[in-house]
Structure formats: structure tokens, C-alpha cells
Amino acid sequence: MAGHAVEHDYHLIPPSPWPFLSGVACLVWGVGMVTFFAGLVPRTGESPMLEWFFSKGLDSLQDSYRPVADQVGADGGWAILLAGTIMAALVMISWWKDVAAESRAGDHTPVVDIGLRYGMIMFIMQEAMFFVGWFWMFFELGLFHKMRAAWNTDVLENAPEYADSMAPGIHAVDAWNLPLMNTIVLLLSGTTVTWAHHALIHGDRKGAKWGLGLTVLLGLFFTGLQGIEYVELFHERGEGAPWLSTDAYGSAFFMATGFHGLHVLIGTIFLGVMFLRLTKGGLRPEKHFGLEAAAWYWHFVDVVWLFLFAFVYIIFASSLHG
């Protein structure tokens, strides 16, 4: 069969360096993550290579259970992390450039296009499961916290000293301030991205540009507001406002909203790239899966935010305050 000419519409791709380089970039990034956040501590002089590689002092392990805190920002770690991030970014840019070029070259036949759609849906499904993890954590902490602390009243009577290990009081973030604003911003951006999509379908490229541009701006605005909220919380930490390290609510709050924020950022970049492609004349009315994928992603991020707003900000905040 090898002799036959290709008679199918699938997209066979020539060898590409990006996946391999992604693996390398991931390794650098991973080592950077560890060195930056935890610090690498060679224990003895036995491994000179490691010593050369990692800049931590040899004495660190003597007080071995010392919190890893004072090693945050350990010298050298940030450089590796930065290098890994830059490498990853470069690889991704090149990779997606290739994809865009292939799309222009007509490699994305109808059947390939359907495949891309499946791929994107599956990707969003796994993102959803990722957030299921965080919400599950949050519900567990919120719903069963009292039950856990007072595991069994009978037990507590018998062993009063165990009551000491009860969790400290929970403080939550006020939902009706910046978070409300953020909700409105995101909902609005959901409509603008739909506007852009419809405009493009109807050949109104100018409208599409406006819609997409506004969406990107709203996305950036959201990130800005979120940043302000974090900074405020940071300054008020210890005065009753939740912070990452103060209690379980703070942890769940910051990690869940933080990962959501990261997704907003990714979505914004995704939409921004589509905006660039649009201004450069890419994306045709009949074929613009890139934009659709970005819009799907954006709606997904939107929905996650609504859940966050409903549960993390409103429902649990009020129930936990009391």
C-alpha cells in the first residue's frame, strides 16, 4: 500500500522538533520550580555535581525540619525557572505558528477540523475535572469542617484537650465588592466574544475586531481587579482577612481563584492571538476554528468563575462567618 498516493483527507505531519523541545523545556521548568520554591539542599559533599548545580548551603539540613520558608527565592532557583518558562513559551509560539500556517495551507480539511473540535472538547473536559478537584477540597473544608473539629461530641466530653486542635475561626472575602464587579466583567466578556464570533461569520470583520478586542481588554481588566483584590488581602492579612497560609479557607480560596486567574490569563492570551490573526487577515468566515476554540475556552472559564462566585464568595462566606 505504500506505493499508493495519499487518498485520504487526514493531516499527516512531517517530523517536528517542538514536542521534544517541550519535553526539555518542561524538565528545566520543573527543576526551576523545585529549586525556586523548595531549594535544593545537597546533604554532604558526596555529589559535587549537585553541589555545583544547586546553590544551597551544606548546613541547611542540620536543622532538618526547619520550615522550607526561608529558602523561598533561593538564589539560582528563579533563573532556572525563568529559563524554563521562556523556553516553554518559545516552543509554544513556534508550535502554534506551525499550526496556524498549516491551517492557512489548507491542511485542516473538514475531517481534521472535526478532530480539532473533539480535541478541544476533551481538553476542556479535563480542565473541568481539574477544577472539580479544587471545588471538592473546598466543599469538604466548608461543609464538614465543624464536624471534623468536633468529630464526636461524646469524644470531646471525654477528651476535652482534643478540642484545642479545632481549627481557628474562618474569615471569608466580601463578595459584594470587587468580586461582584469581576462577575459583571466576565459576563460582559462572554457576550463580546459571542459578538465577535457572529460578526466574523457574517463577514463583518470590523465588528469581529471590536468584539475580540473588547474581550481581551475585559479579560485584562478582570486580571487587574483580581490582582488588586489579592494585594488588598495581602495587606490586611493577620487583621482578619484570609491569606494563603492563615487557614483552610484562605488556602482553598487563593488556590482555586488563583488557578482560575491563571486560566483567565491563558484565555486572554489565546483570544489575543486570535485578535492578532484577525488583524493580519487570518480567520475566514467559513473557517475559524481557532477563534471558536478560544471562545469555548473563554466560556468555560466564565462558568468556573460563576461557580467560584456562588460558592467560594457568597454561600460559604456567609455560612462560615456566623
Binding site: 500500500m1 517536528s16 519535553g23 475535572m129 478537584g133 483552610a248 482553598a252 488556590m255
Partner: protein, 546 residues
């Protein structure tokens, strides 16, 4: 050479040499070819199998006698146990079954020229060496005051994995598992898209070979389970940073048990992720060598779907002793028992496939038959463990170790070897030496049974897991078990002899060297298949057998 029935010896397939294969570096590092990537996965699986096997042999040597003989301290033993579990699961079984055979044969079986996203396919592969390197680095960087490496078991429960291991060793494991996890997620997206979107004309879902079904269900399990593990790993990572979060820190209102829920919500589907592809492979082998179509095809396919679905709602049977509410335990008990039903359907359908057949005991068939029997042994002990009341005795004893090695080291691994010998000629174009292969099989079969059957006794007698030293009452069976490990080691040696011999002697095989009975599409291609198969898509006729 020993000619196999129905085998025709052919020269190099025509056109094999000038089919646009890239040069060495581009071909193996920048690959976008599902078969080459599949081969890379298999090589990777073999390397990891060696590392994981080495660790387990060291463990068995240590456990052969009471006392601490080989390891510098107890920490090192626990490091070996943890790394053995992680490497075997994430770097041997999953790459071999899903990445290796899945990549090689799913596109061919559904009649597609390649995977849906060939470049992303290669990304899935190259994240794995990255991940393995992270795990290997973890060996040589400090874990805690007792030494290098992470010794908190493959389940990584906090607080042992947070405050108990302040060194960077565990951070590397987190990063490595995240990389491996994303590799699998991308792989899952790829398989799902390929199977749903790239079936050849006429190949309806209900005509699709069972291995493709198995990989489809597996891919969904991966897609839905791994992100939860990723979230849990991130929580561990930020908990470990001082000044970081307190998800699992009771002093700050966190809940250490919550990690177990998140982990096992991933962990239980994970065990089916490791066995379903083996089910698929075994189905093909049983059918081929009985010269019969598979019995109850639809039942077989939907049994796997059922196992996949139910597999998501039984996770807490790993947590019977954590102090759960009794009604929850009762629920998980019942749900866990339910899984025995679809699994039974599969077992009996295999037997019914053989019934009335004309059975040839080739090497892959021997592995497959052994698989069925040993999987039943492992499965029924799982049913014992599912009884929450009894599990209060058996949990974290060697009974559990025996259970899961029967389904893993004899289920999943026998599935891998069965597939490897079944498709060896197809993948590499050459036939193995039957004697060496038979020696591999028998040494392995006897060896693993001698290792793991006595571990049931140890568990019943009360020996807990993850013990570097034990009361001398347990000595006898431990000695037997370690002896079995030496037999298995001999089996592994024969596996490599077989490989070396086959590639030196190079007995070429024909397209369909198993003859009648081998009916799936890969047998219509040359051995090895052309660099790009199905330039003209095959057409599946309406009356075709699956």
C-alpha cells in the same frame, strides 16, 4: 526456523525502504509517526521495567530474612518501595500498554493512517523521559533528615509527604508525576479523537476491535481521573512551601484525609486504566488462537464501559480504616462488589470464546491463558478486601500486596508480554526464538506465583506492608517469596536473551503469520507495516466480523 502454521516467509516488503522515512535523529526525536512513537514507548517501558524490577529485587533480598541486611537504613528501604510502586505504575505499565500498544495498534485497527494529533502524540512521549528524570533526581537529593529520596509510599499521604519530607526529593516526584500526568492526558485526548473521528469507512463503533474499545474507555478514565490527581499534587506542593497553604494541615483547619479522597478518586480508576488495555489484548489473542470470533462481542465492549463507569464510584474502599461513617462504608462495600459482575462477564466470555474453538498454544496464547487464571485469583481476593468489615483485618497487610500484584504483576504485566509476543513479528518484522520465549514464560509464571502466593499467608498471619523488618514468625514465607523473585529474575534474563537473539537472527515473517483467526486490520499489512499505512483507506464490509 520454526515455521508457524499459516505463516509465509517473505522478503522485505516491497517499497519498505523508500517510503519517506526521515533520517535517524529526526525520525526518533522529532517523530510524528504513531508506530515509531509506539516503539519509543515500548523501549521506555522496558527501561522502566528494569529499574522498577531492580528496586523490587533489592526489596525482596532485604526481606528474605528478618533483620536489616542490605539497606543503609530504614528510610532507604521505604524509598525503594515508593519508587518501585511509582515507576512500575506510571513508567512501565501505562507507557507499555497505552502508549506502546495503543499507539501502535489503535490507529491501524480502526483503519486510520496515523493518530489524530501526531505532533501532540510525540509530546506525550517526550514528557515521560522528563518525568522519569525527575523521579531519578529525587533519588539523589535529600528527602528528610534520614537520607536522600522520598519514602512515603506511592500513595504519598500527608503529613508524611509534607512535614515528614521537607527536602526537595518529594518536590521532584510531584513535578515528575505532573509531567507524566499531562503526558497521559494529552495521550487520552489523542486516542479519543482518533477513535471517534478517524474510523475507516464502514467501521461503526460496534464493529470496532475490542482493543480499540479498551483504549477508548481507558482514555476516558485518564481524562477524568488524572486532573484530580494533578490538583491534589498541586495542593501537596503548595502545602510543602512554608508560608504556603494548609489544605492538609489540621492546625489550620485543613484535613489530611481529604488527600486520600482526592488520591483514590484518581487511584481506583487508575487500576482499571492499567488493566483494561490488557483485557483488550487478551481478547484478540484468545480469539486468534481459538480460530473463533470473540464470544459476546457487545457484552465484552459494554462490560468494559461498565467497569469504567463503576470504577469512578468505589474509590473509598481503600480508606475503610480511616474512620469513615459506617453508611458510607456500606455504600462503598456494595459498589465495589458490583464490579465483579462485568469482570465476570469478561472472564466467562473468554472461556466461551475458547469453547468449541481449535486452540493453539502459542507463546502469546500461553501468556493470555495465564493472564485469565491469575487475574481471577487476584480479582477474587479483591472481592475479599471489598468487605469493609474483613478489611479491618487485612488492610495494609501483605494480603493487599498479594492482591494487587496478582492483578498487576500478573494481570497487567502478563497482558503486556502477551501483546508483545503476539505483535512482535508485526512490529519488528522478525520472529522470536520459541525456546527462549517459552523459557521466559515458564520462569516468569512460576516465579511470580512463588513470590506472591505466600504473601496471602503473610497477610492473613498479620504482617503489615512497608515493613523493612518483621517478627521472625513471618520468616518462612518471606524466604519463599524472595526465592520466587530469583526465579522471576531468571525469567527477565530470558526475555532479554529472546530480544537479542531475535534481532540478531532476524527470521522474517509474513503479513499474517498467525493465519486464520487473526482478523483485525493489522494483519492485512506487511510486517512491519509501511511507514505510512492506509494511504487508501480500507473499507469495512457490512457483514465483516469484528
Amino acid at each position: 526456523m520454526v515455521a508457524l502454521p499459516g505463516e509465509n516467509i517473505s522478503a522485505e516488503p516491497a517499497g519498505y525502504h523508500d517510503d519517506g522515512k526521515p533520517k535517524f535523529f529526526a525520525r526518533w526525536f522529532y517523530s510524528t509517526n504513531h508506530k515509531d512513537i509506539g516503539t519509543l514507548y515500548l523501549i521506555f517501558g522496558i527501561i522502566s521495567g528494569l529499574i522498577g524490577g531492580f528496586l523490587s529485587f533489592m526489596m525482596r533480598m532485604e526481606l528474605a530474612d528478618p533483620g536489616i541486611q542490605f539497606f543503609t537504613n530504614e528510610h532507604q528501604y521505604l524509598v525503594y518501595v515508593s519508587m518501585h510502586g511509582l515507576i512500575m505504575i506510571f513508567f512501565m505499565v501505562m507507557p507499555a500498554l497505552i502508549g506502546g500498544f495503543g499507539n501502535w495498534f489503535v490507529p491501524i485497527m480502526v483503519g486510520a493512517p496515523d493518530m489524530a494529533f501526531p505532533r501532540m502524540n510525540n509530546l506525550s512521549f517526550w514528557l515521560l523521559p522528563t518525568a522519569l528524570i525527575c523521579l531519578l533526581i529525587s533519588f539523589v537529593v535529600p528527602g528528610n533528615a534520614n537520607g536522600n529520596g522520598f519514602g512515603g509510599s506511592w500513595v504519598m499521604y500527608p503529613p508524611l509527604s509534607t512535614t515528614g519530607h521537607p527536602g526537595p526529593a518529594f518536590d521532584f516526584i510531584i513535578i515528575g508525576l505532573l509531567a507524566a500526568g499531562f503526558s497521559s492526558i494529552f495521550g487520552a485526548i489523542n486516542f479519543i479523537t482518533t477513535i471517534l473521528n478517524m474510523r475507516a469507512p464502514g467501521m461503526t463503533m460496534h464493529k470496532m476491535p475490542l482493543f480499540a474499545w479498551a483504549v477508548l474507555v481507558t482514555a476516558f478514565l485518564l481524562l477524568l481521573a488524572l486532573p484530580v490527581l494533578a490538583a491534589a499534587l498541586f495542593m501537596l506542593f503548595t502545602d510543602r512551601i512554608a508560608g504556603g497553604t494548609g489544605f492538609f494541615d489540621p492546625a489550620r483547619g485543613g484535613d489530611p484525609q481529604m488527600f486520600q479522597h482526592l488520591f483514590w478518586f484518581f487511584g481506583h480508576p487508575e487500576v482499571y486504566i492499567m488493566i483494561l488495555p490488557a483485557f483488550g489484548i487478551v481478547s484478540h489473542i484468545i480469539s486468534t488462537f481459538s480460530k473463533k470470533p470473540i464470544f459476546g462481542y457487545l457484552g465484552m465492549a459494554y462490560a468494559m464501559v461498565a467497569i469504567g463507569v463503576v470504577g469512578f464510584v468505589v474509590w473509598a474502599h481503600h480508606m475503610y480504616t480511616v474512620g469513615m461513617d459506617v453508611n458510607l462504608k456500606a455504600y462503598f462495600l456494595a459498589a465495589t462488589l458490583v464490579i465483579a459482575v462485568p469482570t465476570g462477564v469478561k472472564i466467562f466470555s473468554w472461556l466461551a470464546t475458547m469453547w468449541g474453538g481449535s486452540i493453539r498454544f502459542t507463546i502469546p496464547m500461553q501468556w493470555a491463558l495465564a493472564f485469565i487464571f491469575l487475574f481471577v485469583v487476584g480479582g477474587v481476593t479483591g472481592v475479599m478486601l471489598a468487605n469493609a468489615g474483613v478489611d479491618a483485618y487485612l488492610h495494609d497487610t501483605y494480603y493487599v500486596v498479594a492482591h494487587f500484584h496478582y492483578v498487576l504483576s500478573m494481570g497487567a504485566v502478563f497482558g503486556i508480554f502477551a501483546g508483545f509476543y503476539y505483535w512482535f513479528g508485526k512490529m519488528f518484522g522478525v520472529m522470536y526464538n520459541k525456546f527462549l520465549a517459552a523459557a521466559h514464560f515458564w520462569l516468569f509464571f512460576i516465579g511470580v506465583n512463588v513470590i506472591f502466593f505466600p504473601q496471602h499467608f503473610l497477610g492473613l498471619n498479620g504482617m503489615p506492608r512497608r515493613y523493612v523488618d518483621y517478627p521472625e514468625e513471618f520468616a518462612i514465607w518471606n524466604q519463599v517469596s524472595s526465592f520466587g523473585a530469583y526465579i522471576t529474575l531468571a525469567g527477565v534474563v530470558f526475555f532479554f536473551l529472546m530480544l537479542i537473539e531475535a534481532f540478531i537472527v532476524r527470521r522474517r515473517v509474513g503479513d499474517n503469520y498467525w493465519g486464520e483467526g487473526a482478523t483485525t486490520l493489522e494483519w492485512t499489512l506487511s510486517s512491519p507495516p509501511p511507514y505510512h499505512q492506509f494511504n487508501v483507506l480500507p473499507r469495512i464490509e457490512d457483514n465483516a466480523e469484528h
